[in-house]
């Protein structure tokens, strides 16, 4: 195995009650990468990421995380290396206060008490939760609860962070905060795997996209390459990002030449300006 790889999935098959939900999955995620897994509901995305910390074990094939075979390693050991943030924060919050909630995982992993305190303080500050530290997690707003659920995972410093639908049900401001957080995690050299339907979020924040449909990976590659293929996105039942769709329409109407690549609003404005001048 390559030393650079955080997660390697080889010929993975998985079934629930004899129904095949993952078919021949092959995937390599490098350390420090932000990879986004996309696809329609029921494509197998969440099933796939549950293999990364051993919650699910392969029926066939292998999942290797930082050199550990997940079928041989207990969840409690894998969880120390792979932080998993679930879609709905309400399923995981339970402590009486916000600070206790963050300390839970740290204590589960046996951090010394002074380290627990320091890490809790750090997380409360970074996630802007310090003014709620003594409050019950259930009294926070949905955006705050989401931040708390992420904080309670990031606090124990796992090298790999897996986020299931981080932007679901979040307003624009909260999305921006989550985006900032991803940037921070990237600076911290974390490997990030995201599952999302939010194409606008994915196009800005991922290094690489993995498209799934019917339990299979139908395409994977650099974000731009995948996002510019309207055909591929349709197969995964995703609506292309607005900027890509606009460029596509302009090219089809021969307003813009078909060979130029447009990825950001800036690209689009420049391309239009050039063509208007010409």
């Amino acid at each position: 195995m390559d030393y650079e790889d955080a997660i390697v999935v080889k010929n993975l098959y998985f079934s629930y009650n004899e129904k095949l939900v993952l078919k021949n999955i092959n995937l390599q995620i490098k350390k420090g990468e932000i990879v986004t897994i996309m696809g329609e509901n029921g494509a197998g995305k969440t099933t796939l990421i549950k293999h990364f910390n051993g919650l699910l074990k392969p029926k066939k094939g292998k999942v290797i995380v930082l050199g550990m075979d997940t079928s041989q390693t207990p969840v409690s050991q894998l969880a120390r290396h792979v932080g998993m943030v679930f879609q709905n924060p309400d399923y995981q919050l339970f402590a009486e206060t916000v600070e206790e909630e963050i300390a839970t995982a740290l204590r589960n992993f046996g951090f010394p008490e002074e380290k627990v305190k320091a890490r809790v303080e750090w997380a409360l500050k970074v996630f802007e939760l310090d003014k709620y530290r003594k409050r019950s997690p259930y009294l926070l707003s949905i955006g705050e609860r989401k931040r708390l659920s992420i904080a309670s995972v990031i606090s124990y410093d796992p090298p790999i962070v897996v986020l299931d639908e981080p932007t679901a049900g979040q307003d624009f401001l909260q999305k921006e905060k989550i985006a900032e957080l991803l940037f921070l995690l990237k600076q911290m050299k974390k490997t990030i795997v995201m599952v999302t339907h939010d194409v606008e979020f994915a196009i800005k924040r991922s290094d690489r996209i993995v498209l799934m449909a019917d339990g299979e990976i139908i395409a994977q590659g650099p974000t731009f390459e995948i996002m510019s293929s309207i055909e591929l996105l349709e197969r995964a039942r995703l609506k292309p990002p607005q900027i890509i769709e606009t460029a596509y329409i302009l090219k089809r109407k021969k307003i813009l030449p078909s060979e130029i690549s447009i990825f950001t609003p800036k690209d689009l404005v420049e391309a239009i300006a050039r063509n208007v001048d010409a």
């Binding site: 919650l55 409690s76 969880a79 932080g83 709905n88 399923y91 995981q92 339970f94 995972v153």
Partner: protein, 243 residues
């Protein structure tokens, strides 16, 4: 274990029966299991439920629930032997057989009766709608609750909570932690459902009509009559005529 008490759609004579006629038979089994203390009678009752489960084509699902209740039956046996040593092993055996035959009969009833049909016939029999809705909702949410528990368990294991190692006290303590989010989540869900029901007119002044009023067939009437007679006979022989 709960799986053995949930409706499985199938084609069988038991599935076709009206929930009310089946309920009469269920009452017969319940009363019979409660008034007889003879292990032989209780074994016969249990065997007849086995036969019925073959007729209902759900032996596999049914045996799952019976297997799960065996542990409880064993606990009941041990507790009875310890708590009332004067009554002997036969009494303890009867107590656990009684529990088994009750569980077996109820499991078979719920395996072959769709909750909606049960609620409809209860409503047709004059029970208030709030009550029948409570019944269908509680049955309907068993699989949802099981799924929620799985999600909560996954979320906690992902944060390093050990549920599969350590001694029993530790494990029990760790399992108790799952209850807080689960209860909070279910309360929130029930509030959401209540609001959704109200916004669709539930509890309005008009008594709603039934889309498909349940109908008893000739066989249903015969079974109901037979069940009532059998019930009368065992109660008569057990208690005697009221003077």
């Amino acid at each position: 274990m709960l799986e053995g008490f949930l409706y499985k759609p199938k084609e069988s004579p038991l599935h076709k029966l009206d929930p009310r006629s089946k309920a009469v038979i269920l009452v017969f089994y319940t009363v019979a299991s409660l008034i007889y203390l003879d292990p032989i009678v209780l074994v016969l009752l249990l065997l007849s439920v086995v036969l019925l489960s073959i007729v209902g084509r759900c032996v596999r699902e049914w045996s799952k629930s019976v297997k799960a209740t065996l542990t409880f039956a064993l606990v009941i046996f041990i507790l009875n032997v310890l708590a009332s040593p004067g009554l002997g092993y036969t009494y303890a055996l009867a107590m656990s057989l009684r529990f088994l035959s009750l569980a077996a009969a109820f499991s078979l009833y719920f395996l072959t009766t769709p909750p909606e049909a049960l609620a409809l016939s209860l409503e047709a029999a004059g029970l208030p709608r709030d009550f029948t809705l409570m019944l269908t909702l509680s049955l309907r949410f068993v699989p949802t609750l099981a799924r929620d528990l799985q999600i909560v368990t996954d979320a906690f294991r992902s944060r390093g909570l050990k549920l599969d190692s350590g001694n029993y006290v530790e494990r029990l303590y760790n399992f108790a932690k799952l209850l807080t989010p689960l209860i909070v989540f279910e309360i929130r869900r029930s509030l959401m459902i209540a609001e959704a029901l109200e916004s669709r007119g539930f509890g309005g002044a008009v008594k709603p009509s039934l889309y498909k009023p349940p109908k008893m067939s000739l066989i249903d009437y015969m079974i109901t009559a037979g069940g009532l007679v059998a019930l009368g006979v065992i109660v008569y022989y057990h208690l005697g005529f009221p003077q």
